[in-house]
């Protein structure tokens, strides 16, 4: 069944708002499926996005449980809580579930799927059936990855990066690694199709007046993420197919025996792997930008600078992959070093723009804003330690130690806080109900403190020489105390996550209606109802700036184009 979307003006010429509605050919045959059929057949981006969000949060919980097991094992130097083989499987699956199956899909399949069409004023994503397919591929990939726990030999155990030759069939035989490959192929295609949808929707379906430089920063970031997905994911897919061929078809692409080049895996993997971490980070940069602007009652500071910084980050990120390979001895160190150091510049621009957005504002400390600022602080530490890793001599003694583990956990835990900010901020828009703020604040503090309690000792452990991916450390009992602190931090985060689940259940029962715009937010999606109707908008306001809802609600407070202009000119006021 197809639906024809029309916009009609109401009230004749010069009307301020218009009607947007569907025009089915037959008035009677238009009903939406309900119940389980709805979840199986819907092509509505909001339903698909909600499926993605729930599934990815389930993956987060499983991966988080694995993390707690890892931290229990590492709390004593020579623990036999799990065997060495099981430990290898634990961190492999923890990393794989978190990176491939939680944070990426949550960002571009969950949040962006729901919010981007709303933010540009579109009735749906450009290719709704492709969108639905993306979800089913993602779900299939997730189940395939988890099946590894049920096969003889267990799941993959060669780290989430699966370096060859360790991942070839000689050193890692069995179904577990093959399931890992199949899972990544499925979820990889899922991501590619979502990338197509993001780009097409943003290029083609923007509402009248919603020019490229009036889109919210979250949407800009998701456009760049869509492009990065299209650049990077096919490379990973190709690399995985080649690995599969080595494992099963007797090719020797990565194995020395037939003239293969083992380090080729690392080049291909990281050519995807580094843009991937920006695919993970940029959506949450966007979330935090929108959240900070809303709760500071100010426009985004340095909007064009933000856009420029996002594009620069994406461009540079394609050229830095071998900074993960500095210790191989076979890569061009200065090239990757200068490119990696340069990425700090646009990231710094973003930081100062976030601060500038808060500066001089009137900051309301909702849970979403707390998580956004928690993100700022945590990402600051993580980003600074990343600068060390961009310097090869400094990387030589920190690579593959807990210093790196601490660096990327700082960064991804910050992204996790960005995710929480997104859920508390847009949750009311998507579901129509508010999440409880008091439980939310407790959730925030426990998570933020726990994250730092875990990560700060891990930096120190890395400097003391503790390598990553080791399950026992009997020759270094002096590492025990720091490991125990890290375990305490991880338990705090576990409790915080349970609190979040409690909040969801509690808020679901309390049912405090959100209304259209509970936060007095600025961007277009806050103009429609909560939750939005089937094709998103019954009416659209005039779009004259990057804050159409704000301009509609606060016609006397437009953004000042030059930071120091006292009085806005009459021509800048919202116009029909």
């Amino acid at each position: 069944m197809t639906e024809l979307i029309e916009r009609q003006t109401a009230g004749g010429d010069g009307a301020i708002v218009v009607e947007v509605h569907e025009a089915p050919h037959d008035a009677h045959e238009h009903h939406e499926p309900t119940g389980i059929l709805k979840w199986l057949t819907s092509t509505d981006h909001k339903v698909i996005g909600l499926s993605y969000t729930v599934t990815s949060l389930v993956m987060f919980l499983i991966a988080g449980a694995l993390a707690e097991l890892i931290r229990i094992q590492l709390a004593t130097p020579n623990s036999s809580f799990v065997s060495l083989g099981e430990f290898n499987q634990l961190f492999t699956m923890h990393g794989s579930l978190m990176i491939y199956l939680f944070i990426g899909p949550f960002a571009f399949g969950g949040l962006a799927n729901i919010i981007v069409p709303l933010q540009v004023g579109a009735p749906d994503m450009a290719f709704p059936r492709l969108n639905a397919l993306s979800y089913w591929l993602y779900l299939s990939g997730s189940i395939t990855m988890l099946l590894g726990f049920f096969v003889a030999g267990g799941p993959a155990d060669f780290g989430w990066v699966g370096y060859a030759p360790l991942s070839t069939s000689i050193y890692s035989p069995g179904a577990g690694p093959d399931l890992w490959i199949a899972a990544l192929l499925l979820s990889g295609f899922s991501a590619i199709f979502t990338g197509v949808n993001l780009c097409a929707t943003i290029f083609y379906l923007r509402a009248p007046g919603m020019t490229m430089f009036r889109m919210p920063i979250f949407t800009w970031n998701m456009l760049v993420v869509g492009i990065l997905i299209l650049l990077a994911f096919p490379v990973l897919t190709a690399g995985l197919i080649m690995l599969y061929c080595d494992r099963h078809f007797g090719t020797h692409i990565y194995s020395l025996k037939g003239g293969g080049v083992p380090v080729l895996w690392q080049h291909i993997f990281w050519f995807w792997g580094h843009p991937e971490v920006y695919i993970l980070a940029l959506p949450f940069f966007g979330v935090v930008t929108d959240v900070i602007a809303t709760f500071s009652h100010k426009p985004v500071f340095g909007y064009k600078g933000m856009v420029f910084a996002t594009i620069t980050i994406a461009a540079l990120s394609m050229g830095v992959w071998a900074h993960h390979m500095f210790t191989t001895g076979v890569v061009l160190l200065p090239f990757f070093s200068i490119m990696s150091l340069l990425i700090a510049v646009p990231t710094g621009i973003k930081f100062f723009n976030w601060i500038g957005t808060m500066w001089g504002g009137r900051v309301r400390w909702s849970t979403a804003m707390l998580f956004a600022v928690g993100f700022l602080i945590t990402f600051l530490f993580g980003g600074l330690t990343g600068i060390y890793l961009a310097s090869p001599p400094l990387d030589f003694f920190t690579h593959d130690t807990y210093f790196v583990v601490a660096h990327f956990h700082s960064v991804v835990l910050a992204l996790g806080m960005g995710a929480m900010a997104g859920l508390y901020y847009w949750g009311p828009k998507i579901t129509g109900y508010m999440l409880d703020e008091r439980i939310g604040k407790l959730h925030f503090w426990l998570f933020f403190i726990g994250a730092n309690v875990m990560v700060l000792p891990q930096y120190w452990l890395g400097l003391l020489g503790m390598p990553r991916r080791v399950g026992v450390y009997p020759h270094n009992p002096e590492w025990t105390d720091l490991n125990q602190w890290a375990t305490v931090g991880s338990v705090m985060m576990g409790v915080a996550t349970l609190l979040f689940l409690v909040n969801i259940v509690y808020s679901w029962f309390k049912r405090v209606p959100a209304g259209d715009n509970p936060w007095d937010a600025q961007t277009l999606e806050w103009f429609t109802t909560s939750p939005p109707p089937h094709h998103n908008y019954y009416a659209l306001p005039p779009i004259r700036s990057e804050r159409p809802t704000w301009d509609y609600n606060h016609p006397g407070a437009p953004a000042l184009v030059h930071g120091h202009r006292e009085e806005p000119e009459a021509s800048e006021l919202a116009r029909v």
């Binding site: 069944m1 197809t2 639906e3 024809l4 979307i5 029309e6 916009r7 009609q8 003006t9 010429d13 218009v18 947007v20 050919h25 037959d26 045959e29 939406e32 059929l37 199986l40 057949t41 092509t43 009735p123 709704p128 059936r129 492709l130 639905a132 397919l133 979800y135 089913w136 299939s140 189940i143 395939t144 179904a175 093959d178 199949a182 899972a183 192929l185 499925l186 290029f203 379906l205 509402a207 009248p208 007046g209 919603m210 020019t211 490229m212 492009i227 490379v235 599969y244 080729l264 080049h267 050519f271 594009i311 994406a314 461009a315 394609m318 050229g319 890569v331 061009l332 779009i543 029909v576």
Partner: protein, 133 residues
């Protein structure tokens, strides 16, 4: 569509330039190929948009002074609920499992995929069921 064209072509140029510099400086094959290919991925859609942007009217969504009534009329035709994405997804799932567990799963995979593709194409052509198309 000029902004989109500039964005993509700009990225394409940057990657191609990086690829050339990287190749000259390091001579490493894999990275050079991947960077140049990334450049092509920017040029291909970018030049398409550039070509079109010189030949099309400026769209309402690209005009600063566009008003909502300017976008009146048919926006687009969107597919409604459809079982075919689910079917195709399950076919792909079976194909993935076939990679691991053997040809047992390849048969349902092929069947589901073909069925889903046929179903989706027929659904697109037929449009609204019960209409006179």
């Amino acid at each position: 569509m000029r902004a989109e064209a500039k964005l993509l072509i700009g990225l394409g140029l940057f990657f191609a330039l990086c690829g050339v510099v990287y190749w000259i400086w390091s001579g490493e094959n894999a990275g050079s190929v991947m960077l140049v290919a990334s450049g092509l991925l920017g040029f291909l859609p970018g030049s398409y948009y550039l070509w079109w942007s010189n030949r099309m009217r400026v769209r309402a969504s690209d005009r600063d002074d566009a008003s909502i009534p300017d976008g009146a009329g048919v926006v687009e035709t969107f597919p409604g609920s459809s079982i075919w994405p689910f079917t195709l997804g399950m076919g792909a799932f079976c194909a993935g499992l076939a990679l691991v567990f053997g040809t047992w799963f390849a048969l349902p995979a092929i069947g589901l995929v073909i069925w889903a593709l046929l179903g989706a194409v027929v659904e697109s052509r037929r449009g609204d069921p019960g209409s006179a198309h």
